[in-house]
Symmetry: C2
Subunit: 227 residues, 2 copies
């Protein structure tokens, strides 16, 4: 019943991204994700709830309604098409496009979105590997695991990079850890919190915390133990 302002859109999108497992999202998580204080969240959630975009039981967190989810997917779609466009057509680096897309997603008309989508080749995934919802709001569901969670010897296919940290993205690109790449876990040193990976024939040692956002599809094991 209210116009979907930039802020409201941001809350809906954040809710969608944090809801992942269907669990309600606590106020504090939303606040952290959006970079605002908790009272602002309580307040905004109440307003979104009044418009039936989210449901909210006091002290139990918020979740999107079907209507809210539809709006959220619209924004996610815009964001991901924009990122793809910025990389594929404008030639920007994938480690830099997030912030621009974050703003532009709220300000382009459907007409411009359509043209951008066409120019980018109607992509099904954005440059970080995230699936792009179609215009009807359908999103391919995947079950991926974090590369940080794989045991020694596992092989996997990189599918999504959920991290937003620019320098880190640049690093992943440098070593070839991008969607589509094959990777193998050579060594896991839990005590030190490091992992040794093999990507494109080369080995790299990385902090496993940094790998949390690298989502992979585990491959069938083929002689994983030895050399």
């Amino acid at each position: 019943m209210h116009p979907l302002t930039r802020s409201r859109q941001d809350y809906l999108k954040a809710l969608f991204l944090l809801e992942a497992e269907g669990a309600a999202v606590p106020t504090s998580r939303l606040a952290a994700h959006l970079g605002v204080k908790a009272p602002s969240v309580t307040n905004m959630i109440a307003r979104l709830a009044a418009d039936r975009l989210v449901r909210h039981s006091p002290r139990a967190g918020a979740r999107l309604t079907a209507h809210g989810r539809r709006e959220a997917l619209r924004i996610v779609r815009r964001h991901r098409i924009l990122e793809t466009f910025l990389v594929r057509v404008l030639g920007l680096d994938w480690s830099l496009v997030h912030d621009d897309a974050e703003i532009l997603e709220h300000h382009i008309s459907d007409r411009v979105l359509g043209a951008i989508d066409r120019l980018a080749g109607h992509p099904a995934e954005d440059p970080h590997g995230h699936p792009i919802p179609d215009a009807a709001g359908h999103l391919a569901r995947r079950s991926l695991v974090s590369l940080a969670a794989l045991p020694r010897g596992a092989r996997a296919l990189v599918r999504e990079i959920q991290d937003l940290d620019g320098p880190r993205l640049a690093r992943w690109k440098e070593i070839g850890l991008v969607p589509g790449a094959s990777v193998r876990v050579r060594e896991v040193r839990g005590l030190e919190g490091t992992v040794e990976l093999e990507v494109a024939g080369r080995r790299h040692v990385t902090g496993s915390a940094a790998l949390a956002g690298v989502m992979v599809e585990r491959a069938m094991e083929g002689g994983s133990r030895g050399a």
Copy 2:
């Protein structure tokens, strides 16, 4: 001292565009141009004056300071590069791009602007013929006259279309009245307020009020009187 919000940018740009002849811009004109009420303008002008972006003598209208003009030119540059990009790269019609550019001009980063400018071929003019200020804020000055003001028999070169009305722009395109076109005034019927033009070998009768925004460069006369 304040951040240049979208609104502030809009006021500066409007001021720049309306200042044309160096005359101070009255409150009412700004209000009409921006689609807000007069008190909102008085108020905002006071705030911009506090930041030394405009100068304002009560009841005498506002004018930009050098600093304000610099900021205004930045926005004008963005707007015109965006329009060119939307037409040349995204393939949108010139009659439709204004509104999109009007919003996007406030929301793209310098990085994206640079990429867009490159893709559009570093244009010197936008699709409506307006010169694009360079990055340093220099704008080619022209002295054009309105096509509506030309006498019978005059020949001219169309340089800029200052009109924003979509359907009208579509009409001009249809008859070939676009920047670069040669036009000749065949007849002026002042009483009826119509003009008969010859464009690309064909004649068209048009209300002269509608032609006010078609800015031309008058050509040397060559046997203008007779057939």
